[in-house]
Every structure is written in C-alpha cells, then in structure tokens.
C-alpha cells in the first residue's frame, strides 16, 4: 500500500475510533486537508485490495472491517463508545482492535431473542454462545456483505 493511501487508511480508522462511527469522505479530507477526491481515490484502491468495502455508489465506506458504517444486528460497546460490527467475528474484532473489554449485543438469527456476550481479558466471559460460519473461506470475498 502506497504511503499516501496508508495515511488515508490510518486517518479513517483513527476517526472511526474518535467519532464512534465511520467518517464520510469529507470528514477524512478535512482532517488531512486534502481534496475529497483524494480520499475517495485512496478508498477505491483499498476496496480493490480488500482493505475495506465501499458502498455500491463507490464513494463512501460501507465496511471498514471490523467496523460497519451502517447499523447492523451487531452492536459493540467498548472503551466508552459503541460501534456497529459487520458480523459476529467482527464484533469480537472490534474489542480485539481496541484491545479492550466490551459487550456484544445481537440476536439469535433463529429465534430472534437478544444475545449478549461480555468480553473480558481477551476472552468471552462464561459465554456458551456458538458462532456459525456458513460460507467457506474460499468464497468470503465473492460476496463479502453476505459472508
């Protein structure tokens, strides 16, 4: 990844942490004092390299894994803030990326009942919940939103 793209990438993630949400291209451009088009060009290259996922419009971020730019069934509270995750794996990934304890709230896709899991000291505190990955690894990026 080129240094300029890495700067945009690191700024994007720093803003996710600071704001508790994924920033738009204008917000990242303001922080870096560069043109919005420069941010969007970098994001496009990162999208093509599977370093993040753009919305279908191709201009704003949909998934800065493990963080989601849009509400999902996976809500994570950690380090005094909360974020949406793209999936259960990413929900734990937010605590991992922040190196923080946290709480993951979601719903069982079968029965719809609320599920909660505490993360303490890098582990699930007494959780008996199960994670199911439906799509084999070889196909994850065929449709990353579905995966």
């Amino acid at each position: 990844m080129a240094p300029a793209d890495l700067l945009v990438r690191n700024t994007t993630y720093a803003q996710i942490v600071a704001r508790g949400r994924v920033p738009d291209s204008g917000e990242v451009a303001d922080v870096l004092r560069i043109a919005v088009a420069g941010v969007r060009d970098s994001w496009r290259r990162m999208h093509d390299a599977h370093a993040l996922v753009l919305e279908p419009s191709g201009t704003e971020v949909l998934m800065a894994n493990p963080f989601s730019a849009v509400p999902t069934p996976f809500r994570v509270q950690a380090a005094g803030r909360s974020w949406y995750a793209n999936c259960a794996w990413d929900a734990f990934g937010i605590c991992a990326a922040l190196d923080s304890d946290g709480e993951i709230d979601t719903r069982c896709p079968d029965c719809g009942k609320s599920l909660s899991c505490q993360v303490r000291d890098r582990g699930p505190a007494g959780s008996v919940l199960l994670f199911h990955c439906l799509v084999p690894a070889a196909g994850w990026w065929d449709d990353i939103v579905f995966s």
Binding site: A91, A96, C108, P124, L130, H132
Partner: protein
C-alpha cells in the same frame, strides 16, 4: 457469520442448507484477536494471504472449509 444460542438453533436456522463450521465463543474470540488485533496499529500493513492462512492454521482451523483462495 452469526452467534446462536445453541447447536439446536443453528440446525433450525439452516433449514436443510449445507452447514458451515461452528466455533465456540472462546474460539471466535481467539480468532478475532489474531485476525483483527493489529487493525488500529499505526504501522499496520495488509495481511498477505499466507499470513491470514497461518492465523487460521494456528488456531486449528485446518480443514478445507478454512482454506483461503
């Protein structure tokens, strides 16, 4: 990639579809830390396919299901 109350709930949700792989929450947490733990590091660099496969292998996820393209 979802969390479920139990194996019974997974089977019911699958509704006849071919099952994928099931991990405990502890296994998932270990995977998440290995996969995403460096995501906010200023010195982060993209993982290679080999690095990511090594993470999966290191956690015992060695079946063909977990083989990256």
């Amino acid at each position: 990639m979802n969390l479920f109350r139990s194996e019974e709930h997974i089977v019911r949700w699958l509704d006849g579809r071919r099952p994928g792989q099931t991990l405990t929450a502890a296994q998932l947490c270990d995977l998440a830390h290995a996969w995403w733990g460096d995501r906010l590091d200023p010195d982060w660099r993209p993982h290679s396919r080999e690095q990511n496969q090594a993470i999966l292998d290191g956690l015992g996820l060695t079946s063909s299901f977990w083989t990256l393209p």
